[in-house]
Amino acid sequence: MSKISNLEIIKEDNKVIIKINPKIYPLEVVYSAAYVFLDKAYILIDGDPKKEIIVEAKPKEEKNLEYFGGEFNNELLNYLTYKNFSDKNKDIRTMIVQRALITGDPDVLDNKNSFDDEELDEETKKLLKELEDDDDDDFLDDPEGIAIPWEEKYGKESKKENKKPKVREDGKRKTK
C-alpha cells in the first residue's frame, strides 16, 4: 500500500520539508500554522504560492521529524477549518456587531447597503430573520426577583422585626 505523504525527512540536517497545495491550504492558513511553530522550530517558507508552498521546519530540540511534520499538517487543517467557519459566519458576525453599535438612528436599521439579500445563503437569511424577530425585551423578565429593590422586597418584614421602641413626648420610653 503506497503511503501518501507531503513530508520529506532530511535527518542529516535535522529538518522536515512540508509540501503544501495552496489550492487546499491558502497562504494565510500556512502563515497561521507556521506562526504557531515559531517557538518550537526554525521555519522557512519557499516555493510558489500558486503552485506549491514549501515549508522547511527545523525543530529547535531533538524531535521525531515525521511526528513533527504530522503536527504541522494537523495545524494546517486546524486553521483551514477555522477559516472556513469564519468565512461562513462573517455576515452574521457583522450584523451582530452592527446591532450592538446601533444608536437611536432608525436609518441604521433600514440601511441595506451592508447586506445584499441575494448574496446570502439560505441558512444565513434564516438566522438573520430570527435575530430581527427576536424579542429584545426578554432580558426584562426577572423570574428570580433579582431586580426587585431590597426595601421593597423585605422592607415591611424588617420593620416588623426591628421595631423601634415607642417614645413618649417627655422622652421616656412607653411601657406596654
Partner: protein
C-alpha cells in the same frame, strides 16, 4: 557572515526592513535583491546561535502579523 534567502512572495520587504532595524544591535544586516528572493547577509555583532534562523523566524512573524492587520 551568514546568508539566508527569503522568498519575495512570502517575506515582504517592509517586514524584512522592520526586522533589520530590530536586529541592529545583534548583527549588521544587508539585503541583496535577487530575482525571486532577497538574499540577507548577516554579520553577527554578538555570539548568537542560529542567528540567521532566528532572523528568518522573526521576519515570518512580522509578515504574518502584517497580513492580519
Amino acid at each position: 557572515m551568514e546568508n539566508v534567502k527569503l522568498n519575495k512572495e512570502f517575506y515582504p520587504l517592509n517586514a524584512i526592513n522592520q526586522a533589520v532595524k530590530d536586529f541592529k544591535e545583534a548583527a549588521s544586516i544587508k539585503i541583496r535583491n535577487e530575482e525571486n528572493h532577497y538574499k540577507i547577509e548577516i554579520t553577527p555583532k554578538q555570539n548568537i546561535q542560529f542567528l540567521k534562523e532566528e532572523f528568518a523566524n522573526y521576519v515570518l512573524g512580522i509578515s504574518k502579523n502584517k497580513r492580519v492587520s
